[in-house]
């Protein structure tokens, strides 16, 4: 429950150190004085309370047995159209060009056109026979691994608010992103990379970096955005011309740091800051290694579409995502690739725009799913494909679609997900979700559940409240859980 009575602070790091007689070297990293350091419930009541961990990224035991260890969130920024991808609606073809016979909600561009049929055909795939449009012929091959939720609803018609909402469960800037929550709750299995990595393929969603913020959580849980290339994050590359020069500087620094530590009688904050440099050095080696694809077979590269220009960018990021999963990184988010046009936000020219976006991601995503599966990783990796909202079944103008948060489609696959499932439904137009509605808080609750966490118990005390990713909402979508 949120709004718990205040309880005494847990043991401080200093106390812990005093009690454990632990010294310098035993501690890799520490959050120094986050509010939770005095605000959380005692460790005795929450034995795995992340706020009491010495190392904020150390793996911690979930609330119950997890179905997935890592999450890959394929964020389809801009809002792909449900009726053109995974939610076929014959009525659109039947009434193409006619005024829509449903209550029309206000839209972002306020330019309501007539019913617009999907430019793509749907075919049935797999054992489940689930229909998928011709936009996703490759993902369609994996349809028996997907649980398709056709009854998503969101609360905002504007990108930025909707982006903040799908990431943080709140429509405004400043709340922790779900990747930060997952990492806060579980730590990371990988100690030389950040626990929450965002792979930037060239299109940053509206709302910017704050979609991946740690908000009020300690900065250790911030999403680290990686660009393509050998040095995907700022200041990673050694600034010295030669390793020798660097080594000499580091030697002097370490020596002077020891003196600093002595001068403060072994102050734990200073000690942690020193240890932090060690992690930074490890990252300097680990990240270029991560981005290096030379160890991958040609077949693998081909599977992800690295051999084709249209799929190269996102294919590369999908492959990096798999490598991050292998290294035990907790939460990986992929942003849309810049392949000429805009993201999935086709207010006009739906056909060319959606096609462009789909081609860029379809093969890489299918490659990722197949590769994870063949390596036995899919069972422990939750893959989520979602935009911040869907699109209107009527045209914006004549050939586009406007934003629609009232009913849209997302899918999940992998750890704990019941594959080959269709869950929920929209009306005949694909406009409003009418059956088994799932909101964003439910998505978050389900994600945390599959990670082995109770969304009601994953809390962080901030300004007088025990905050949750799901605020005061959220129900687990049991219908898609295997």
């Amino acid at each position: 429950m949120h709004c718990n009575r205040f309880l005494p602070r847990p043991m401080s790091r200093r106390e812990m150190l005093a009690k454990c007689a632990n010294g310098f070297g035993a501690v890799a990293l520490a959050s120094l004085v986050g509010e939770a350091a005095y605000g959380a419930v005692p460790a005795t009541q929450r034995p795995n309370d992340p706020t009491t961990r010495l190392n904020p990224l150390a793996p911690s035991t979930p609330h119950f047995k997890p179905r997935a260890k890592s999450v890959i969130f394929l964020f389809m920024d801009g809002g792909p159209s449900q009726v053109d991808t995974f939610d076929p609606k014959p009525r659109l073809a039947a009434e193409n060009g006619q005024p829509i016979k449903a209550k029309v909600q206000p839209t972002q561009f306020d330019n309501i056109g007539n019913v617009l049929k999907s430019p793509w055909e749907f075919r049935q795939y797999g054992q489940s026979g689930i229909p998928v449009s011709d936009l996703f012929p490759n993902v369609a091959q994996c349809v028996d691994d997907l649980a398709i939720i056709r009854s998503m609803v969101a609360e905002h018609s504007e990108h930025t608010n909707a982006n903040y909402f799908i990431h943080s469960g709140h429509g405004m800037q400043g709340k922790p992103s779900m990747g930060a929550w997952a990492t806060y709750g579980l730590g990371s299995e990988c100690q030389d990379l950040p626990g929450f990595v965002v792979l930037n393929s060239g299109l940053i969603p509206p709302g910017g970096q704050d979609c991946f913020t740690n908000g009020f959580l300690p900065a250790s849980y911030q999403g680290s955005m990686f660009r393509n290339g050998e040095y995907p994050i700022a200041d990673l590359k050694r600034s010295e011309a030669t390793p020798e020069v660097q080594q000499a500087k580091l030697d002097l620094m370490r020596r002077l740091d020891r003196d600093t530590l002595a001068r403060t009688a072994g102050d734990d904050k200073v000690e942690s800051a020193i240890a932090n440099y060690e992690l930074a050095f490890r990252m300097q080696a680990a990240v270029p290694d991560l981005m290096d694809m030379r160890g991958e077979s040609e077949a693998t590269k081909k599977l992800y579409g690295l051999d084709q220009k249209q799929t190269e960018i996102f294919g590369n990021q999908c492959l990096v995502a798999r490598k991050l999963v292998e290294r035990g990184v907790r939460f990986i988010e992929l942003l849309c690739p810049k392949v000429g046009g805009d993201r999935w936000d086709q207010h006009g020219d739906l056909k060319s725009g959606h096609e462009n976006n789909a081609v860029a991601v379809d093969k890489p995503i299918a490659g990722l799913l197949k590769d994870l599966k063949s390596r036995g990783l899919l069972d422990s990796t939750l893959v989520i494909w979602a935009g911040e909202f869907g699109r209107t079944p009527m045209a914006q103008g004549t050939n586009g679609r406007d934003h629609n948060p009232y009913g849209f489609t997302i899918w999940m696959a992998g750890g704990g997900v019941k594959g080959g499932t269709i869950y929920g439904a929209t009306d005949d137009y694909g406009y409003y979700a009418v059956e088994n509605k799932v909101n964003i808080h439910d998505l978050h609750a389900t994600m945390l559940h599959l990670l082995g966490m109770d969304h009601k118990r994953l809390t962080y005390r901030f300004s007088g409240r025990d905050m949750r990713l799901t605020d005061v909402y959220g129900e687990i979508v049991t219908g898609i859980v295997a």
């Binding site: 120094l32 504007e158 930025t160 990673l236 030669t242 403060t264 932090n276 930074a280 007088g464």
Partner: protein
Amino acid sequence: MRKSRRQIRDIAISSATGIAAAIMSFACLPALAQSQAIPAQQIEFFEKKVRPLLNDNCFKCHSAARKPVMGGLCLDTRAALLKGGDRGPSLLPGHPEKSLLITAIGYRDPKMQMPPRGRLKDDQIGVLTEWIRMGAPWPAGRPQATAGQPAKATFDLQARRAAHWAWRPVRRSPVPSVKNRAWPHNAIDYFLLAKLEADGLQPGQPADKLTLLRRVNYDLIGLPPTPSEIDAFLKDGSPDAYRKVVDRLLASPHYGERWARHWLDLVRYAETDGHEFDFDKPGVFRYRDYVIRAFNDDVPYNQFVKEQVAGDLLPYPRLHPTEKFNESVIGTGFWWLGEGKHSPVDITQDQRDTIDNQMDVFGKAFLGLTIGCAKCHDHKFDAISAKDYYALTGYLKSSRYNLANIDSPSHNRPIITELEKVGDQLAAMHSGPYPGKPRIIPGSAEVFEDFKKPGFEGWSVTGDAFGPGPRATAIAVKEKDGKAVIQRLATSDAADSGWCSYNLQGSLRSRTFTIDKPYVLFHLAGSGGAKVNLIIDGFQRIRYPIYGGLEIAPKDDSQMKWQAMEVSKWIGHEAYVEFLDLGPGRITCDLIAFSSSKEPHTEPFIGCVVLTSRFDGTSALASLLQKSNELKAKLVEPTRVLGLADGTGENDRVHLRGSHNTLGDEVPRRFLEACAGTNQPLVSGAGSGRLELAERMTSPSDTLLGRVLVNRLWQHHFGEGIVRSVDDFGVMGQPPTHPELLDWLASEFVRQGGSIKQMHRLMVMSSAYQMSSRANSVADRADPANKLLHRMPVRRLEAEAIRDAILAVSGRLDRTLFGPSVMPYLTQFMEGRGKPETSGPLDGAGRRSIYVGVRRNFLVPMFLAFDYPVPATCMGRRSVSNVPAQALTLMNNPFVIQQAEVWAKRINADKSRTAVQQIEDVYLTAFGRPPAPKETAAALRFLESQRKQYAGDELKPWADLSHVLFNVKEFIFVN
């Protein structure tokens, strides 16, 4: 029981139509009594069809067993259904079409759709419809545990108020007695020592002189001491050497820069709107400068608070001491520093989001209260009701976004008076016919304003552009082909921002009204970007795509024309008209009407009168024109700041569960009952009443304002607040570790007239502040969290202080105060919509960090790495985390490397000094202390070995040494 207006209306309709039976069963029949008369087939229908349906789809959220019951609505007894929930009765027996239950399950109201997860099947809806038509028979038996409303946890504001320390009056206890009488320097020490002694502990040793100097420098001005300051302090053996340092630092203009930044954390300061395109907020840096000046000038805190809440309404605003501009009004910019939405689809929701953020920040920053928690329900723990919340939001609904002119009138006003005289003379020369004003044929449109009342009665005016009231005709004189073209645009009753000069700026805003017709018509002329806006639900960011039509910037100032705004989408919303002339333009309007059609029906009229006369250089006309032009050239463009202006006073209504779709009772505007009592006078006058709010907040009986502020000061000096949850003095926060000390400080603060500098003096002069940070093992074991303050804590510098220290040490620091922000350096890793086209310089032009632009969507990565807060809400206590980005920044960031080189050059510039002397300087500059001999030796060895790496290059080894010293932890920690 709360009823929405619609339900009340529904009930009224049903009464009026005389459905006696329905009313009978609604009003009189108790549920059980009714069951005796139920026919058997109805019982069967209910038990077989209705009850299972309700049970499967509704009871999970709406039954007495569910706590809390959603929406206050139980559906598990007939009585409960008749009573209903927050929105009123759920059913009217016999009348499904008037029953809220059917509206909800039919998904007929997009704001109320039940069950929320999906619409029931049509036949299920049919069952419930049929059942209600039958009269909603509900047989006896199988009674629920409790009928009707479940007992709600009672909210007793007075009991909560009495139970929690923060609401109790500030009590000044006598200073306690202590055993160790030698240690205390002032009252603070007695309070601290008494507690230490009670636990059998002793305070720490005094810090050495240089540690203390570095500490107090960073604390008070955020910059390290210079070698000459260190030298002077070491040489000053007088007993008040330290006091002199404190006085010097408090008098330094850099003090204001340091402490203003702490304040900016509280008010989520940023210079852009964020959201999709990160638009600039106009002139926000002036708020930052205002805060710096306020700290430097030691403005009494009550005054500072009043200015932020109601600086626009103060009868005697505080003027800048030399430039005489209005300081007070700049404070109101605080309200607008939050995130701003681009083209929101739900405009009312946008207004609520804005107000909710304003309330959240207001509550935490000034009062240390989580008022925002009372948005959806009475506060779960604190003595704050939902009514308190909406009593406060009314002040904001009654206030408006304004770009206030802060200039002293002393310059422009006399010129305007002269111009007015010239204008009158011009008018007198051409007293010919006046144009007509359109006469609207009755019934075709409703006149909202014809500007016939003098002095803009009912409108609020800012700036000089519109003058003191509707004008006798504005005369425009233009030269054309050697002739003067003299134009008269409108009748004597017009609002005209060109009445005196196109160069004047200002605004004119109407009262708030409710839109009830699809068109708002303006009869107007204008040019140069002056415009009329329709501000709906307080929404200011009028932009494409949705809101472009709410702005008209007329392009023709030679002819009055009708122009229409189409507002059918916003019928039922509140709005006001805003004329804005913020540049070299003019807008003239003589009639505003609401209409059902785009074109009004008017009687014929003459729209403008043009006279010409021979333009003779020697004529009276020419000399008047010349005089006019000379005067106009002397006018100075006004300085405008973002702030508040009063609007039409209106109360807000309680929003049930925080939603603007479910409104409850209206609440008169007032301050929190727990603070100002239950008998607060109603707002007097037509405006917002914010000034009265500010007075109540700063009344002598206040228990929070002072405590919260002194606690913030304490935190910045001693590492943790006496109340560690500095933004939350409520029940969920932490109790004070030293309540008597907190109260003593709060009372002393009042005694000192709210002087913040006096409080600094008290704190940094205490023996406690002058203690060493080295742990004494006995005390450390007994008090590991240092709650008793047995030693000073070691603290890491904040992001800005680290960058400022790098600049100060390298010698690159530009100590210029104030002014527009420097554009941040934009790296290739900073991407996204709204990214400025050009980056700022890598070194931020050497300016202190407080002058680096705060772009909401492009915050400086180096700052973020060191826990710079996202400007979303009040952040009185930054987290201090430890992430690899910090190490990577200091090791590899080009700015840090660059500054190490700058520093190396400076060190090397003075060839007269030996390497040992240079190393001594370097240590003094970076760490505020001379090096130990072994450190000097290590540095010399390092320089020597690097020289070999660089084949004898003199500069590079020094740059390496400088860079290493930036990375030594001593650089970013203060002992």
